[in-house]
Symmetry: C2
Subunit: 255 residues, 2 copies
């Protein structure tokens, strides 16, 4: 499950994360180095394997390098809610590690490789790698922003809008880290996963997807979603990519 990365691997390691950060501000060498320092330990997980389970203490902070990871809560009545999905370049458990134990399952949806590091006191971490604070805080803010947007979706958008919205979001996120260049997205989520992500039933997900397909907006099949008309889809969703904040800012660089 664990192996030593070669220097070559380290070189190429967090290109996903770097691409995201680069979109946000001029990525400095210090930040790249700090992240490189931190990400020396790697691990692999098979599909369906949990990285951490509800109720367990946190052992690591993860940076996803390959594959998809779902953060989900299992409710007593047997239902599940997927809170968010992590794709390459996303951190997992960063701020939550402050807490004693996890409130959620973190489970590999595909074969997954991660970089990971043991949580140390934040204050030590930032003292050791001051430039890391920027990257981590940005990642935090980004994740919280997506969570807030999910709350908006679940609270005030209907099934069609929710589905359209999450597809727009995934398209944008995958594009910025270079997971896709055209409108064909390799998304390993089943219709049941979408149901648990969007707070609806599997059956209604299916009908919604068929309806979007009939309208020539998207074409879903297992493991692959093709966006036929992004503009129109975004209009259906009320999707405004602003909340992802993938826009350059130069005024807040560390001095």
């Amino acid at each position: 499950m664990t192996e030593d990365p070669s220097p070559r691997q380290l070189q190429r390691m967090s290109q996903y994360l770097f691409r995201k950060l680069r979109g946000f501000y001029g990525l400095t060498d210090e930040i790249e180095e700090a992240i490189g320092e931190l990400c020396k330990d790697t691990a692999e997980f098979a599909a369906r394997e949990p990285l951490i389970e509800q109720g367990e203490p946190y052992k690591y902070i993860y940076l996803v390098e390959k594959g998809w990871v779902l953060r989900a809560r299992h409710l007593p009545q047997g239902t599940r809610q997927v809170v968010n999905v992590a794709v390459p370049g996303d951190f997992a458990c960063f701020n939550a590690h402050l807490f004693g134990m996890s409130d959620f399952d973190l489970v590999a949806k595909t074969p997954v490789s991660v970089f990971r590091f043991e949580p140390v006191a934040i204050i030590d971490l930032f003292a050791l790698y001051p430039h890391l604070a920027v990257a981590l805080t940005w990642s935090n803010a980004h994740e919280e922003s997506m969570l807030a947007e999910r709350v908006v979706s679940l609270g005030r958008r209907n099934a069609r809008e929710r589905m359209a919205h999450v597809l727009c979001e995934l398209a944008a996120r995958m594009r910025i880290v270079g997971m896709t260049t055209d409108n064909v997205l390799s998304i390993p989520l089943t219709q049941e996963d979408f149901a648990d992500l969007l707070g609806m039933s599997l059956i209604h997900v299916n009908r919604t997807l068929r309806s979007l397909a009939a309208a020539q907006l998207v074409h879903y099949k297992v493991g692959q979603v093709q966006i036929l008309d992004f503009e129109k889809l975004a209009r259906v969703a009320g999707f405004d990519s602003g909340y992802l904040h993938f826009t350059q800012r130069t005024d807040i660089l560390p001095r």
Copy 2:
């Protein structure tokens, strides 16, 4: 709108925040001092006055000292989704300030006083006040945890459970910062606010509250919610306070 706090005020300023942090770990003098240093500027807002509006650039990071603040999104079709509420001791806009502009309205629900400070580069901030990083990161984690729980509620709990759950959460949050000691909560939210917070219609909120009242669980009136049977309410909600992480940890103190 702005005034200089007297030293006495500073002394008493963030008791709310301190109580929360104290619940989490032994609050050190350094942290208290760092926060005190930062919170020299205060501001007051009237009820309904926005602290910041959707689309505006961030000017400040806020620490709520008195009153209630709602973070809400207004959708094109005229609906509103309240993403979370901030009570005394809560930060607002902390990590979001990294972004160019706000995705949400931040509006005073009651007369509000806040401490505020201008965002500087995170790296500078943490270098200046290293002990602050802990408090801020914990606050971040806490807020994200509540957001995640809201996603679970909106996605997989029905109206009755959602209402019960949010009341349990508010009770717990108000108790830990000392806003209440018994089961009578001064909550300034109207039924419409609850509707927008829980993603339901005003009318259904009303029926749900009446139903909870009929079951002798809670008694709602304007500005005040009385919890008649917390245990039972928590059972209805499927509420487990774990996600609030108001439990002592001594193992991760900064050295």
